[in-house]
């Protein structure tokens, strides 16, 4: 165990203590055509009891980053940097030590519940297994009791009966609730929800988000909510991190990021979004498309699509975040020049 340095404590007095501290995380895949960088120099913290929304489009690296935290990336992936959970470096842990944390202290809910659940086991047996793996002494009777309670917490009607059923007997929304029940079975400190409602219809999504919100209020679990849906983040997250082409481009408390976005990509994304509460004369489109992992430009990855790009400046801009306000940072080097000009 490493003592927390004094300076660190001083600099974080205002915010709640951090649970997870990610620094300079890089994930690379070796492919036939060379090395693809999925995540590049990513740093962020998750504080106790906080919900961090991570938004980005396909290929932005948001899922790769969360899988790196869970230690669930394939062997072909090279992970460097630091992921500290309660001060312990996860990247240097042995598999056996990691297993103790994974599923117990850090749990994950996947997008595709049907693929994540075992079709050959009853739902009750799967929840019981999640509990027993980390606490083998639990009696059978208390396992059943715990599983019933968990299904009840996530709002599954007649939980005692449902325990004996198989995943295919559940609807999509109900399966996602089962996933949440398994995720919170061991009262984890962090729940990583990777696109938990993307496959669901909107009324079912509302139900599942409601469950996540209630569970979070009840257990004070920290949540990392990975989604492409800015509306979901607006309703659920305390802080937001916006990712683009493997990097963090903006991070801050929800309101400043939505109302005063400072990175041109965040601004572009919000302007491109059609909204249910109003009609825009014409959507503002972002020209071009996100770069493929192999074709990322030097410097700022958004530069080729950016209305404010200055090749001389942005071409060798690093990933260094620029602070725009208290705990709100952006990776745009021209942030002060472009100001409020959207």
């Amino acid at each position: 165990m490493e003592a927390v340095s004094h300076t660190e404590v001083v600099s974080h007095t205002a915010s709640p203590p951090e649970l997870l501290r990610v620094r300079d995380l890089t994930v690379e895949y070796r492919t036939d055509s060379g090395t693809a960088v999925a995540v590049e120099g990513l740093s962020f913290d998750v504080a106790e009891g906080q919900t961090l929304g991570i938004v980005g489009e396909s290929g932005s690296g948001k899922s790769a980053a969360s899988m790196a935290i869970m230690g669930l990336l394939p062997r072909s992936a090279r992970v460097t940097g630091s992921i500290r959970f309660r001060g312990r470096e996860l990247l240097s842990l042995a598999d056996s030590e990691l297993r103790e944390i994974r599923g117990r202290r850090i749990a994950v809910i996947f997008q595709d519940a049907l693929a994540a659940l075992n079709p050959m086991m009853t739902v009750g047996a799967q929840i019981a297994e999640a509990v027993r793996v980390h606490d083998p002494s639990t009696s059978r009777a208390s396992l059943v009791e715990r599983a019933t309670e968990l299904l009840d917490v996530v709002g599954i009607p007649s939980p005692a009966t449902r325990l004996g059923q198989y995943p295919h007997e559940f609807s999509g929304g109900m399966r996602q609730r089962v996933m949440i029940a398994m995720g919170i079975a061991n009262e984890p400190d962090i729940l990583i929800a990777d696109e938990p409602t993307t496959a669901l219809d909107v009324t079912v999504q509302a139900q599942v988000l409601d469950v996540i919100r209630r569970v979070q209020e009840r257990t004070r679990t920290s949540v990392m909510l990975i989604t492409h849906d800015l509306g979901v983040v607006a309703g659920l997250a305390d802080r937001v991190m916006v990712m683009y082409a493997g990097r963090k481009v903006e991070e801050g408390p929800v309101e400043p990021v939505f109302y005063e976005p400072s990175h041109p990509y965040t601004r572009g994304l919000l302007a491109a979004l059609p909204r249910i509460d109003r009609r825009t004369a014409r959507l503002t489109q972002i020209p071009g498309r996100p770069p493929q992992p192999g074709e990322r430009p030097a410097g700022c990855p958004f530069q080729p699509r950016c209305p404010h790009a200055e090749p001389a400046v942005c071409g060798d801009a690093g990933t260094v975040p620029v602070a725009v306000a208290d705990s709100h940072s952006t990776a745009c080097v021209r942030v002060h020049e472009i100001g409020g000009d959207r």
């Binding site: 489009e57 396909s58 909107v202 509302a206 492409h228 059609p274 909204r275 509460d277 009609r279 489109q285």
Partner: protein, 337 residues
């Protein structure tokens, strides 16, 4: 400038008219249990004015895609009628049917599986021209025109689908549909597979094309925000029936049907203060199986207003004023967005 359009409508009637449309599928329930009939569309009436966009929304399994497929002739309705530009699609002879098919084209949701990976883009776009015997002798020129029309490089005719991104592939799908100069496009979830930053470009393209060629759109989607952006009118489907149909702004601002209200209230708004201040109508349970739809009003099993009459009588679409149709025994408007 508006006058001629209004006249044309008065003379020609709507571009699309469907009445009493019923479409069914025969499915195998489980091994050994024999077959059953699912009614995907149960008596649907609507029309789309020339040059207008009707947004068709609803959740998985509500029948919206089947309805779209009835218009293009991919599904043959078991009852009811589809009239395109005043011609009854089912009653038309072979030759007339081919001409009708040319008038209405379909754009698919998945730009990955709807393009033949072994055909070049040039071949993909030339195929409909060949089938309908159009532009013979200048097909290469026409193919280049089509690519330009959808914002792609006309020099890329020799490329294959895998060399394009999702957004570009969807543009190819749109170009293919436009190749035969249709008057009506059925767009089945055309942007739902695309990322937000790419989606806006395709939505804008569809709006531009509609204006340029006076196209009529049936825009099928589950994303209610995109539908509001692009539609003149919106119809909401639930378990095979249209429950509400109104001009877009009216439907989003003053929804009458409880299902529409629940649906709209469930869509997250990317605005933290607005989103957290909203009162959400959270529906209980899941939609019932279309194999055994509830009697009377099909939404009654999840409706907080349901009374005895709702189980006995299916409410008809009734005018709430201003062409705002709703099928509810207890219609009452409520602001939810």
């Amino acid at each position: 400038m508006k006058a001629p359009v209004v006249n044309a409508q008065a003379v020609d009637g709507p571009a699309v008219e469907a009445s009493g449309l019923v479409a069914e599928y025969r499915i195998r329930r489980r091994p050994g249990q024999g077959r059953a009939t699912v009614q995907a569309v149960s008596g649907v009436d609507f029309s789309i004015g020339r040059g207008r966009t009707l947004g068709l929304v609803g959740e998985t399994g509500c029948g919206k895609s089947t309805l779209g497929r009835c218009l293009v002739g991919l599904v043959t309705p078991v009852a009811g009628r589809v009239t395109l530009d005043g011609t009854d699609a089912a009653a038309a002879g072979r030759g007339a049917r081919t001409r009708l098919r040319r008038q209405v084209q379909l754009v698919f949701q998945d730009p990955y599986s709807s393009l033949n990976p072994r055909m070049s883009v040039g071949a993909i776009l030339a195929e409909p021209l060949r089938i309908h015997g159009l532009h013979s002798g200048r097909r290469d020129t026409r193919v280049r025109e089509l690519l330009e029309l959808v914002g792609l490089d006309p020099d890329h005719t020799g490329r294959f689908p895998h060399q394009f991104s999702g957004g570009q592939r969807q543009r190819i799908g749109i170009a293919r549909a436009l190749a035969v100069e249709p008057r009506i496009l059925v767009l089945d979830e055309p942007v739902s597979a695309l990322d937000v930053s790419v989606q806006a470009g395709v939505v804008n393209l569809l709006e531009d094309l509609q204006e340029e060629f006076a196209l009529t759109y049936l825009f099928i989607a589950h994303d209610l925000s995109v539908v509001r952006q692009i539609s003149d009118d919106v119809a909401v489907m639930y378990l095979g029936r249209i429950v509400e149909h109104a001009p877009a702004d009216r439907l989003y601002t003053f929804p009458y049907h409880p299902y529409t209200q629940a649906l709209l209230s469930a869509v997250p708004i990317p605005d933290p203060r607005a989103e957290r201040a909203r009162k959400r109508i959270v529906l209980l349970g899941d939609a019932p199986s279309p194999l055994v739809p509830p009697s009377g009003c099909r939404f009654r099993t999840r409706c907080w207003k349901a009374q005895q009459i709702c189980a006995l009588e299916a409410p008809a679409l009734a005018d709430m004023g201003g062409g705002h149709l709703a099928a509810c025994h207890f219609p009452e408007t409520r602001v939810v967005t």
